[in-house]
Structures are given as C-alpha cells and as structure tokens.
Symmetry: C2
C-alpha cells in the first residue's frame, strides 16, 4: 500500500522534510496535490470531509490506509521506525523526536523572519518588522539552534546526530542548511565556519544515492518566495 | 521512582501543560527548580553536563531514571499512555499527539503576540509590532485554532476531544482558555460564544478532583507577565 502525502504542490515548505524521508526510505508514495489537477481538490476534500473524527489541521499530512497523521514531526516519528530512519527502542525514539521538535521550532522562527506580524499578512506589509526580526534571528537564534546541533554531533562522535546511523533528523539538518543558504546566502556564508559538523552531515546526505536521485528529479521543487525559506535581498546583508 | 520535571520556577509557561497532566495522573513528581534554591542550579547543570549524548534544548524536560524527554508535546506523548491520558493503540496515540502539536503551534503564536520581533527583545521594545500582531491574531488565528477544536469536539460527540475519555489534550484546552481569559479578558469575553464545547471541556476539567486540588494548591503558579499568557492593556481591546 502506497503512502499518500498531502502538501502544497508549489513549495518545499514543511512538507519537504517528509519528502526527503520518503525519498531516503525508498518508500512508495504519491504526492497527491502534485499528481494531477485534481490533487488540490482531493486535499481540500479530505480536510473538509465530515467523515473523519479528527481531520488534519493543516498540510502536511500523511495518509496510510485509514490512518491520517498530521504535523511534520509526527509524520517522521511514524515513518522513522518503519523505514530504519529512527531507533526502535522507545526511549531513543522519543529522544530523536525531541530533536525534530527543536527543528520544528527553528523552522517556525525561520518563517517568522519574513512574517513577524503573522502568517495572515503579506511580507510587503511587514518589511520593517521583518528586518528587525531577521537581525535578531541571525544574532541570537541561528547560533543557538545550529550551535545546539553542532554540539549534538560533537557528542555523538558522528558522523550523524545519533552516531553512525543516519536518522530523519540528519535529513532535516540537510534541508536547514540548503534552505538557509538559499534564503540568506551572505549571512549563511559568514556563519558556516561555526558549524563544520552540521555541514558535514549536509554533504553526506547530499551524496546518498536516493537523495541524490531525488534532488536531481523533478520531485524536488525549486526554492521560491512562497515557502519557509525566502530570498529577500533586504533581509540578507 | 518519581518523575523529575525541570522548568522555570516562576511561571506557568509551557511547563504548565505538563504539570496539569502530572496532577491529573496523580503522578509522583518533583518540580525540581521549584523545590529549593538549588533547583535552578540543578536544572542548569543538567542542561550543561557533558555526560549526556543528547542534552535538552530548553525547559521543560522530564527526567525518568536515565531517560530525559524534551518538549511539552513529547513529554505528554510519553506520559499519556503510562497514565491513561491517551489511547494505547499507536494510530490513536499519534492522532492525539497531532492535536497536541496543533496546540503547540497555537501556544507559539500566543507568545508571538507580545514578542513578534523575537524572543530576545523585551516587549517594551516591540509594542507597536505587538499591537498589529495581536489584532491579526484575534481576527484570524484564534478563530482558526479554537474553531478547529470546537469542531473536533463536535465530531467526537464529546464531552472530550476523543469522546468519552479525558486525554491530555483536554487538559491543554483548559489551560488555553484560562490563559486567554487572563491575558485578553475583553477580547476573550467577546469570542467565547463561538466555542461552547471548548468552554464545557474547560469547566469539566476544572471540576476534576485532582485538578481542583492542584489549582487550589501553591503548586499552581499565578499567571504573570513573564510567561506565555501576559496581560498587557494595550493588547486587549
């Protein structure tokens, strides 16, 4: 039975963390909203159906048989043990999930750099606030978050977050580096020397055969100014 | 063996969602940083120790034997099945966890009403932005989030989110109502008629004997202007 991933078809966004895990797992899945013109309709229909006791709050969500799992980190928790991208023991699984939830918080703060006044206003309505938030973000938050993962990699003795075996958190670290390089090329270039181990994970992930094939395929949507990582010149100095 | 909860001693904050679950469970736990003057030191020490492979990113975290679990929703996932506050079947557990992750996102947006330019600046440095964000928050986000939970309660046929049995999500809904009433008394009063089922959950939770005892005890810290829910007159109209 194939997984059905439901996510916005034009952006990487939060769904990309799931797409990378599905790619690395070699899992059979349908990216429903990208599959056809009816895909978006199918997604809306599932969100609005009266038949589900617990409809998803927002994309991404994953459908597997009758089960619908919402929230990126929750989907990865589900997929991780099924596809060898997470340890099997409960304590270690929750530990890895905790790391992913830290990434979730970071992703939310990345989004807020261009939307400090909220997700319901356009960037163009909040340029000044975005500048201030982005300055604080690079001064305080990027060092805190990425410094934390650099430290985790140091403690694990690498190359990956939990040691010798790749997990979905490593795939997400790849995506964070790619996204920050896209959105803030100047700032990120200056910062990178502080996180050699995170960059090493990025490079190793990029070279994994299934990821490499995924990135070269049209399954990988290009970064653009509608997702989490947006390149606005005014925010990159 | 008692649980050890590590969280800031002067605020409800994110830790309160865990404290409520521990209270309802009747679990034996120590609120480490509140226990004594050395509690804060113990918390810092654990966060900075070199001995852990994966130190927590931030409070709250829960220690149980050698296991340390970070992030509110992750702690509730762990406690839920152990104390009958979550279903045992994996699919239902992940579904409930997904609901809690939606609450996590809402809590983050509540915090951003007074800190739109980031957590590293004082409210006093971002009053104007806070006003704009709070207006959008009440116009768009509160109806979206609380409307979603009202709908979940309607679908479950109540009285609780998953039906007849209380779960940790219901405890969190109680806390959301209490917090919004504290921080935005005028706005919340006008909004409440839209969410009768959520308010009913709030009332039922408040009457549960262990929660009632907890709320009346000095374990319940009063709301104040250092936590998630802050009462700033300028933000409540």
């Amino acid at each position: 039975m194939a997984y059905e991933l439901y996510y916005w078809p034009m952006i990487q966004g939060r769904g990309e963390f799931v797409r990378l895990a599905l790619a690395e797992a070699g899992a059979d899945y349908v990216d429903v909203a990208r599959r056809s013109k009816n895909g978006m309709q199918a997604m809306s229909k599932l969100m609005e159906t009266k038949r589900l006791a617990v409809p998803p709050f927002a994309p991404p969500f994953l459908k597997f048989g009758n089960q619908i799992i919402g929230h990126t980190a929750n989907i990865l928790l589900f997929l991780g043990t099924r596809h060898g991208l997470a340890p099997k023991a409960e304590a270690a699984r929750l530990q890895l999930h905790g790391l992913q939830l830290t990434i979730t918080d970071f992703v939310s703060e990345i989004h807020d750099t261009h939307h400090p006044l909220g997700p319901t206003l356009y960037y163009e309505e909040q340029r000044a606030a975005a500048k201030r938030r982005t300055d604080e973000f690079w001064k305080q938050r990027v060092p805190k978050y990425l410094g934390y993962f650099e430290d985790i990699l140091k403690r694990s003795d690498g190359p990956y977050a939990l040691g010798r075996r790749l997990s979905y958190v490593d795939l997400s670290l790849f995506q964070l580096v790619e996204g920050l390089r896209y959105a803030f090329p100047k700032r990120m270039k200056r910062f990178e020397k502080a996180i050699p181990r995170v960059l090493d994970v990025r490079d190793r992930v990029a070279e994994r055969p299934r990821i490499k094939a995924y990135l070269a395929s049209d399954k990988r949507i290009a970064f653009n100014e509608y997702g989490i990582f947006r390149r606005y010149k005014a925010l990159d100095r």
